[in-house]
């Protein structure tokens, strides 16, 4: 658990973070979201002391982060940034091994861990361990960046717009894979982004910031249904509901009776946004849920709408 208490940071005459208090529960993926210049990156960097805060304190599992040397602290917190920052003169394997080397793991253990991590992020260890960073695509480099952040199995992972510099297609793929990864590893992740779509897709909870202060902390659904302020509504915009729909799949809903006539087919994996789009496209009131070629049930427009509200 990460606790921030009254954290304040000033840069010359601007206040980047203004008395922020926040509790980040274990195992959750917490998104820090806000317009640029709202202080979200500063807040993130305060956690691993990359930014020295002027007032307040930060606790990890009840211990103040100032109780250990900053280098020691950082070795136990994963860190991934938008520019990746792979060391261009080291192989992919050596890049990933950075923190384990700092922690003086033995070589056998490091080698095993590197292979394991490359597998984890979907890169073949045999092909990639010896590659140099300049031989990687943007997406591959960011995968290596994530593997490097996870190297010493830190309980906490800080990520600053890690997918921000990627093209839309690889960004979407990495987001999806990262969501899966998070589900499996259950790390405490603090993830900074200004991309609303990314925040809604990935976040267990969203911390919405503005001008150095927190506006609202809530799960995306709650933020959609019960926005604290007009700013929240304005910031997420009219598409917010559709984005929430894309967080849910057909399998999350209880299917209704089989459709009587012809109906477009969807699978349990289809997300609800696509289901609605399909209904509009086909001018259909309902869809048929198909598993292994058999229709197992149906969903009507009303069912989708009411069940999403209830689930939220």
């Amino acid at each position: 658990m990460i606790e921030l208490r009254n954290v304040t940071k000033r840069f010359e005459d601007t206040i980047a973070v203004d008395g922020v208090s926040l509790t980040i529960p274990d195992g959750e993926l917490t998104i820090v979201l806000g317009p640029s210049g709202c202080g979200k990156t500063t807040l993130l960097r305060a956690i691993n002391r990359m930014v020295k805060i002027d007032a307040g304190e930060v606790l990890i599992d009840g211990r103040s982060i100032t109780s250990v040397a900053p280098e020691e602290l950082r070795r136990h917190i994963g860190y991934a940034i938008q520019s990746v920052g792979l060391f261009p003169h080291m192989s992919v394997g050596r890049n990933i091994a950075t923190v384990p080397r700092l922690l003086r793991w033995d070589n056998v253990r490091i080698e095993k861990r590197v292979a394991e991590l490359l597998d984890l992020v979907g890169l073949d260890p045999a092909t990639y361990t010896q590659k140099r960073p300049h031989e990687l695509s943007g997406g591959e480099a960011q995968r290596v960046g994530v593997a490097r952040a996870l190297a010493a199995d830190p309980p906490v992972l800080l990520m600053d717009e890690p997918f921000g510099a990627l093209d839309p297609i690889s960004r979407e793929r990495l987001q999806r894979e990262f969501a899966d990864l998070h589900r499996r590893l259950a790390k405490t992740v603090v993830f900074v982004t200004h991309d609303i779509e990314e925040a809604v897709i990935l976040g267990d909870r969203i911390v919405l910031m503005r001008d150095g202060r927190i506006v609202q902390v809530a799960a995306p659904e709650e933020m959609w249904l019960k926005p604290d302020q007009q700013f929240v509504r304005d910031f997420f915009g009219a598409e917010f509901g559709l984005r929430i729909l894309s967080r849910h799949r057909v399998s999350d809903l209880v299917p209704g009776p089989m459709p009587a006539g012809e109906a477009p087919h969807v699978s349990p994996e289809t997300n609800l946004r696509d289901v609605l789009a399909l209904m509009v496209l086909e001018s259909a009131e309902q869809v048929a849920v198909v598993v292994d070629g058999y229709v197992t049930g149906g969903l009507t427009f009303c069912e989708v709408v009411t069940q999403v509200r209830r689930a939220s």
Partner: protein
């Protein structure tokens, strides 16, 4: 001509918009290669032309009854007869045998096989001309020397130096055209090896420069050693102090201002004036501190020279270290720090290795500069090759001047080539892909 060809080519192939744009890049790439091939051919032909003029009309060498008097300058073809004409033909062939000079549409690949082969042949032809000329001049010199006094000299005239310059152009174009690495190496090694062999077999013994060298032989080796001592000593000192200074300057703005300001000031001061300033300072120091005197540090001799060369060498090393570290990708530094590397660790594992090629370039500049700069030692009784050079100037013996200067130039070129190749090796695979640096 060339650009109009390219334009019409594009418009013919461009039946549809997309087809046209797809075909443009390779077409342009090919045409630039044709242009660069032609540029080399023009350089080669220029070299051939200048060399021919140097052989045919310029004073190539002169026979002088003694070291001081002006001799009768002779051109190569007059002085060497048949050999001169043969060399002239060889050098014309070497200069003008580049295929792109004759075929306008010569486009057999990036470096056509024919062009590559012609590069090698041209290089070897030029070397043949050089070696023939040297051997024949050496023979003419020994013919002239018989029956003359010991002080008789056969010296090269400006035509010879012009010829060397033209030769450099020829080699440059030839090696640029040659595709294989070993071929390029051959072009440069054959003439050097050839001259060494000619000298080893005594074919050049009667040339003025060699005569002077054998006369100063006993003082040559110590002068060379002393010269190397200055150049390497100053450079090593600059490495030891310059890299930490550069790192320090990169860490803080104020340090940068003070360090770079101070070092620039040192650069502005003329070397000789600097040595002049050092003399009284060091003299009074060694008077007051006996251990310094015991080390041989005094107002004259090696100490002021070494100190001044060191301070001059400090500038390129420090500046390059500073710039190299300042230009590192901030994302790389941020992630090094963010993963828990301390300052020293980050310096050792990330910053210095990444800065290395640029720092090395600074070291190269320092070394080449110190090698040339060590001439000043001659002014304060510090020895070195400068002593021989100034002796030559005093005696108005150009040959003796060259005995001092040629090794300095050769050393500087050698150091430059050596470190450059290390730079090239170390820079390989180090480039940061722009995609990775992100924002």
């Amino acid at each position: 001509m060339d650009s109009s060809n390219r334009l019409s080519g594009t418009s013919e192939s461009g039946t549809s918009e997309s087809a046209g744009t797809e075909q443009t890049p390779p077409a342009r790439a090919r045409s630039t290669q044709v242009v660069s091939g032609r540029a080399n051919a023009v350089i080669s032909a220029t070299g051939g032309f200048i060399a021919a003029v140097a052989l045919g009309f310029a004073p190539f060498f002169s026979f002088r009854p003694n070291r001081i008097v002006e001799g009768e300058p002779v051109s190569a073809i007059v002085g060497l007869g048949t050999a001169g004409y043969v060399a002239l033909i060889l050098i014309l062939l070497a200069g003008f045998a580049a295929p792109p000079l004759w075929h306008r549409g010569h486009r057999a690949g990036p470096r056509g096989r024919l062009r590559g082969l012609s590069g090698l042949v041209r290089g070897l032809l030029a070397s043949a001309a050089l070696l023939l000329l040297l051997a024949q001049t050496g023979r003419a010199a020994s013919e002239f020397a018989t029956g003359q006094s010991q002080a008789a000299r056969t010296s090269f005239g400006w035509g010879f130096y012009l010829f060397l310059f033209a030769l450099f152009l020829l080699y440059y174009a030839a090696s640029a055209d040659t595709t294989s690495r070993s071929g390029r190496l051959l072009i440069w090694v054959v003439p050097i090896l050839g001259v060494v062999l000619l000298a080893a077999f005594g074919a050049l013994n009667e040339l003025g420069i060699v005569r002077e060298w054998s006369l100063t032989r006993s003082s040559f080796a110590p002068a060379l050693t002393r010269h190397l001592f200055y150049a390497l000593g100053a450079t090593i000192g600059a490495i030891v102090f310059g890299i930490p200074l550069g790192v320090w300057a990169a860490r803080s703005r104020r340090a940068e201002t003070i360090i770079m300001g101070g070092l620039s000031l040192g650069q502005v001061l003329p070397v000789l004036a600097f040595v002049g300033i050092m003399i009284p300072i060091l003299a009074s120091l060694s008077d007051r501190v006996p251990p310094l005197e015991a080390l041989g540090i005094s107002g004259i001799g090696w100490a002021p020279v070494m100190i001044v060369l060191f301070i001059y060498a400090l500038f390129p090393v420090t500046r390059n270290t500073l710039v190299a570290i300042q230009q590192l990708d901030p994302g790389v530094l941020d992630s090094a720090k963010g993963m828990g590397m301390g300052r020293l660790r980050s310096l050792k594992e990330v910053e210095l290795p990444l800065a290395f090629p640029v720092v090395l370039a600074g070291i190269r500049i320092a070394l080449v500069q110190s090698t040339a700069g060590a001439i000043i030692a001659a002014f304060v009784g510090g020895g070195g090759l400068g002593t021989i050079m100034f002796m030559g100037i005093e005696q108005t013996s150009m040959d003796l001047v060259l005995v001092g200067v040629v090794p300095i130039v050769a050393l500087a070129l050698f150091f430059d080539t050596l470190i450059r190749s290390v730079e090239r090796l170390s820079a390989r695979g180090r480039s940061v892909d722009p995609d990775l640096s992100g924002a």
